[in-house]
């Protein structure tokens, strides 16, 4: 993750990465955009806590059911995917 990455990282992305890193007990520098939750050692309960942290941080409601984690409503396949979904939800809230 070089300079280019840092420049394209939004505030939202930084906060989401921070939430995920805290939950995974990692340093934010260890969290890559293309990493899956399992790469970070997060199980479904850890993911539920991340989603809760994101909802609290951005005052948004994330459509997520632990029974159907692959659902189309909210892509959780990678860190980058989650950030992009969160950005969409924030934009929808502002609209």
């Amino acid at each position: 993750m070089g300079l280019e990455y840092m420049q394209t990282t939004t505030d939202t992305a930084l906060r989401v990465i921070d939430i995920i890193a805290q939950q995974a007990m990692l340093d934010t520098s260890e969290v890559g955009m293309d990493m899956a939750m399992s790469d970070l050692g997060l199980d479904s309960l850890g993911l539920v806590e991340c989603i809760f942290g994101i909802e609290e941080a951005f005052d948004i409601s994330v459509p997520f059911n632990a029974n159907a984690p692959d659902q189309a409503e909210f892509d959780i396949s990678t860190v980058g995917a989650i950030i992009s979904e969160v950005e969409k939800l924030i934009a929808r809230k502002a609209a």
């Binding site: 479904s44 309960l45 539920v48 029974n67």
Partner: protein, 403 residues
């Protein structure tokens, strides 16, 4: 060791407010799940549940006793009255000393807690009703049953989340079996379909938004219910001597802890509990004719429970009916395995296996025969009832057809 039989049953749940109505509903595959009616339901994401209908507390209790009775205790008392009446028992002073109560509940007086927290925190009140404590305590239902019938032997409450009632009934079974009591009233009840109770479950993100579809490939989680059931567990010779109706024999009880995860299910713990129950009953796995599954309808539970059943039942699982009646009465948490025992009794005494309703598609990761959508006639001699709680605490009962 003494033999233990069930001589009475009573219930209040979303399907019916007595056992006969519940058997009928289970046979017809009725669904008790519908829109929730609790206060502030518009602030909930989960808006469906299996609520009891047509239950008027004032029909069952004098108005001056109601301040002492949370809904979970009301349910337990009404169910206990039905069970005792069915059994035809009169508790005189001598029998009262040889009789006790063990009930299960996970939330106890959860609605009372919720109402009174609201009063003091949200509404800013500085005073609560004097009976809040005796109303909310987890042992309230047990105590009221013991008081109503004069049961003066062993009495306590068991709280092991979703396995509470099976742990309670297993304990009552062992007490009668070892001679500590001749009669035990036992089962479980739960009433937490209030704003706080549902909000807490909502947080876990394991709740279905529409309905409960255990073992179905498209299942999306659990649906909470409320209710309970109470049974009369009686020593066989005591029951025979008075010509009591015998619904079934309690044959074995097995329990175990996963010692794994606080919420994620495990294969090994349930396997050990099922094997312990069968071994306690002296019954081989291939002789089991019906399993009432824990079957919550979550992705994880139904897959893992199916794996555990495969380990225990091996090839026998291919032709073994395994249903989850939570699809009809919802997940009644600490009272659920008591209500589910009614489905077990029905299989043994009426030869009817309750279905798993709302089932749309077989899941190759789940049990091969979930008895989808329609009840089935079968001659069943042995049933097993599973309960696997959050916290990894497992309790399994095995029943045998009436001797």
């Amino acid at each position: 060791m003494k033999r233990v039989v069930i001589t009475g049953a009573g219930t209040v749940n979303a399907l019916a407010n007595d056992s006969v109505g519940t058997y009928t509903a289970l046979q017809e595959g009725q669904c008790g799940i519908g829109p929730l009616t609790c206060r502030d339901v518009d602030r909930l994401n989960v808006r469906v549940g299996a609520e009891i209908r047509g239950f008027d507390p004032e029909q069952h209790f004098p108005r001056n006793t109601l301040p002492l009775l949370d809904r979970f205790a009301q349910i337990a008392l009404v169910a206990a009255r039905e069970a005792v009446a069915y059994a035809g028992l009169q508790f005189d002073a001598a029998l009262g000393l040889r009789a006790g109560v063990i009930m299960g509940t996970a939330g106890g007086g959860n609605l009372t807690v919720d109402d009174n927290y609201r009063a003091v925190y949200a509404d800013g009140k500085n005073r609560v009703h004097p009976f809040v404590v005796p109303r909310l305590m987890h042992n309230a239902a047990t105590s009221h049953i013991s008081m109503e019938f004069g049961l003066k032997g062993p009495a306590f409450t068991v709280s092991t989340a979703c396995a509470s009632a099976n742990h309670a009934m297993g304990q009552a079974f062992q007490m009668v079996r070892c001679g500590m009591a001749d009669v035990m009233l036992t089962g479980g009840s739960e009433a937490m379909l209030g704003f706080g109770g549902i909000k807490a479950w909502e947080g876990l993100r394991v709740m279905a938004r529409d309905t409960c579809r255990p073992f179905s490939r498209d299942r999306t989680g659990m649906i909470q219910g409320e209710g309970g059931a109470v049974f009369v567990f009686e020593e066989l010779e005591h029951a025979r001597a008075r010509g009591a109706p015998i619904l079934a024999e309690v044959a074995g009880f097995g329990l175990s802890a996963d010692a794994g995860d606080i919420v994620m299910p495990d294969v090994d713990g349930p396997v050990r509990a099922m094997r312990a129950a069968l071994s306690d009953a002296g019954i081989a796995a291939q002789d089991v004719g019906y399993v009432n599954a824990h079957g919550t309808g979550t992705a994880a539970n139904d897959r893992v429970e199916s794996q555990a059943l495969r380990v225990v039942m091996r090839a026998h699982l291919d032709k073994l009916p395994v249903s989850s009646t939570k699809s009809m009465h919802g997940h009644i948490i600490g009272g659920t395995s008591a209500v589910e025992l009614l489905a077990c009794l029905m299989a043994l005494k009426d030869g009817v296996i309750a279905p798993t309703i709302n089932h749309t598609e077989f899941d190759p990761d789940c049990v091969p025969d979930p008895v989808p959508n329609e009840a089935r006639r079968a001659s069943v001699d042995i049933v097993m009832s599973n309960a696997f709680a959050f916290g990894g605490l497992n309790a399994v009962l095995v029943l045998r057809r009436s001797p």
